[in-house]
């Protein structure tokens, strides 16, 4: 604590200005230094990247189609079918790699949608305050208490979700409230700061101040929020797919679990059918969560253990 104080002490405008330009650069390299040294971040990020590469390039290693039926019924992993086959004869590896793709797409899109809504609501409530805040907070709280999964079940049962994108948007639209709440709180604490008052005095419009002054000052926080939304959306999508409420024309890890359960893979002891998709989901989400904590430690020196 004392160290930072000593670099920005009292008086002499020129000196202060000089250090101010040197500061961000040093901060950035310091952040990078901590990032590379942070075990959680490195492990989480590697895991997520590995799976992402697997999702992108995995399908190239196989000529099999996830929906095609082959003449191998419920066979354990073999040279021909690396991850085994389902009882009607589908290739589990092909299903898995395409399912992994779906998970990333749904997670990313739903995460973006939820983050966008959460930011819009959170910024507006935190920046405007007053009646706008009251109303938005009420809305946030109402949506927050209603269990996401219940709404998604009822909505997708009626709508018959046909595409991944549609599913992702639905998930995004229902899972933003906690993000909005967190962003609102952060915005509140920033609004009272000098640089925001200064921007206000200089007559800038509200949204301009939010985009130019407030958002950049909590960018790391927003990024962390997005990662959590990303991971959460993947889990929700898996649940929906498992219930048979997701798109059925697109392969997903949740759908694999659905079909394996309805075909009694468990009772038949066909572990290869359900192990891979579950490991896939768990690994992505755990990777994202661990990465999130690592990043949090990098951004917040208070959490670092020296």
């Amino acid at each position: 604590m004392e160290t930072t104080e000593s670099t920005e002490t009292v008086v002499a405008g020129t000196v202060v200005a000089k250090t101010a330009s040197a500061e961000p650069q040093r901060k950035r390299s310091e952040t990078l230094y901590f990032a590379l040294r942070n075990k959680k971040l490195v492990i989480g990020l590697s895991l997520v990247l590995f799976l992402l590469l697997f999702a992108i390039f995995g399908p190239m290693f196989t000529d099999k189609d996830p929906f095609e039926f082959y003449e191998a019924y419920g066979e354990p992993p073999s040279k021909e079918h690396w991850f085994g086959t389902t009882s009607p004869g589908q290739d589990v590896y092909a299903q898995f790699v395409y399912g992994l793709r779906s998970s990333f797409i749904v997670g990313a899109v739903a995460g973006c949608v939820a983050a966008a809504i959460g930011m819009a609501v959170g910024f507006a409530a935190g920046y405007r305050g007053g009646v706008v805040d009251e109303i938005l907070t009420m809305l946030t709280n109402v949506v927050l208490v209603i269990p996401t999964i219940a709404v998604l079940i009822i909505v997708s049962a009626y709508l018959t979700v046909g595409s991944l994108l549609w599913e992702a948007v639905l998930i995004g639209v229902t899972s933003w409230p906690w993000a909005a709440r967190a962003i609102r709180a952060q915005t509140f604490s920033l609004v009272s700061r000098d640089f925001v008052s200064l921007a206000r005095l200089s007559g800038q419009s509200g949204w301009k101040i939010i985009v130019k002054e407030i958002a950049p000052n909590m960018s790391s926080y927003l990024f962390l929020t997005f990662i959590l939304l990303f991971g959460g959306s993947i889990l929700i999508a898996a649940t929906l797919d498992f219930l048979g409420l997701g798109p059925v024309e697109v392969m997903s890890l949740g759908l694999m679990l659905n079909v394996s359960v309805s075909n009694s893979a468990l009772q038949l002891g066909m572990w290869w059918w359900f192990v891979a998709p579950g490991v896939g989901i768990t690994a992505i989400v755990a990777g994202l969560y661990v990465m999130n904590v690592g990043l949090d430690e990098v951004f917040n020196p208070r959490l670092r253990r020296t």
């Binding site: 009420m138 709280n141 109402v142 927050l144 208490v145 209603i146 269990p147 996401t148 999964i149 219940a150 709404v151 079940i153 009822i154 909505v155 049962a157 009626y158 709508l159 018959t160 906690w178 991971g231 889990l235 929700i236 898996a238 649940t239 498992f242 219930l243 048979g244 409420l245 949740g254 679990l257 394996s260 359960v261 468990l266 009772q267 002891g269 572990w271 359900f274 192990v275 998709p277 579950g278 989901i281 768990t282 690994a283 992505i284 989400v285 755990a286 994202l288 969560y289 661990v290 904590v293 208070r302 959490l303």
Partner: protein, 328 residues
């Protein structure tokens, strides 16, 4: 304190109204005529379709003006009437849910309470303690990232299929009838263990992580530093840290309820456990919309009640809400 709880109650009331409205509006917001859409998906033959069309229109009350329909929906709700089931012909939705709910609650309540207690304890112990932190934390992260249905499958495969120490499915032995007897209780407990364990483990991970991170923040707080400056033993400092960290964890409990309920639904499906989850999958497969709508309302109601219970507990733990001063 009264004001705090009253405000919460008002929020829940509003939420319930919103939920009921969603529940009512969704079939009516569908593009085109909802009834035709439903019947098309049922793929019934033309005469049956004709009959069903009339039946549905009447059941939905679609021939009346909208405000009247909305009012009827509420009236039906107050009379405990959520319409007839399609999947279970001849049964009322309310009765079906009433039979299923005890099973779901039997899984949910112990799983929520015990995982909350155990997770908090372990998380608090792990904070700033190297060995435990390095073991408990990674395990917790994997657990909390695990989809419920998958953990259910894995546990069932290991304990029921491979080792055969627990049954694969059902809530009690087929030969038995639900009754208050030793035999039934034993069989019930035996079937209950694996689904309970699934819910417990996944939730446990989340609580442990949350508590660990909160304790780390609390141990850096001013009061913790002051106590240490005055030579207070770690035991005391940690006790205070725990007391303060429990508060945000309790708010978290309210938020997590929805996820655990979702977890219970899919876990029941894997284990063929006769709770609300199994009801949902039947409803989805048979396009039984009345049943789905009814379950939706029951889930919301349950979550709202649970939220209120958490709020009351919060007031007991946090003096700030009790002294009339603004609590968070």
């Amino acid at each position: 304190m009264k004001w705090y709880l009253a405000r919460k109650l008002l929020l829940y009331l509003l939420t319930f109204v919103v939920a009921v409205t969603i529940d009512w509006a969704i079939p009516r917001l569908m593009p085109g005529d909802p009834v035709s859409g439903l019947i098309a998906r049922l793929q019934a033959d033309p005469t049956a379709a004709q009959e069903m069309h009339g039946y549905y229109t009447e059941s939905f009350g679609l021939d009346e003006p909208l405000w009247r329909q909305y009012l009827n929906f509420w009236l039906g709700l107050f009379h405990g009437d959520l319409g007839p089931s399609i999947a279970y012909v001849g049964s009322r939705v309310t009765d079906l849910i009433k039979t299923a709910i005890p099973y779901t609650l039997a899984l949910l309540v112990p799983a929520i309470v015990l995982s909350y207690i155990a997770g908090n304890r372990v998380g608090a112990m792990a904070a700033r303690r190297k060995v435990l932190d390095n073991t408990a934390l990674p395990v917790s992260y994997v657990l909390t990232a695990t989809p419920y249905m998958w953990l259910a499958l894995v546990l069932a495969y290991i304990f029921a299929f491979r080792w055969q120490v627990f049954p694969v499915s059902g809530a009690y032995d087929f030969a038995l009838q639900p009754e208050w007897s030793w035999e039934f209780a034993k069989s019930f407990l035996y079937h209950w263990t694996l689904p309970f364990l699934t819910l417990f483990l996944v939730s446990f991970g989340g609580w442990a992580i949350g508590m660990r991170n909160l304790i780390i923040y609390e141990l850096e707080a001013d009061y913790a530093n002051y106590l240490q400056d005055l030579g207070a033993p770690n035991r005391l400092v940690r006790r205070y840290a725990y007391r303060n960290a429990v508060l945000p964890q309790m708010s978290g409990l309210a938020l997590a309820l929805g996820a655990v309920v979702g977890g219970a639904l899919v876990t029941e499906i894997v284990f063929g456990y006769p709770g609300v989850g199994s009801l949902i999958i039947t409803a989805i497969q048979n396009r039984d919309y009345f049943l789905l709508q009814g379950i939706f309302l029951f889930i919301i109601l349950g979550v709202l009640i649970a939220n209120f219970i958490v709020d009351i507990a919060y007031v007991i733990v946090d003096p700030r809400t009790r002294t009339g001063l603004q609590g968070s």
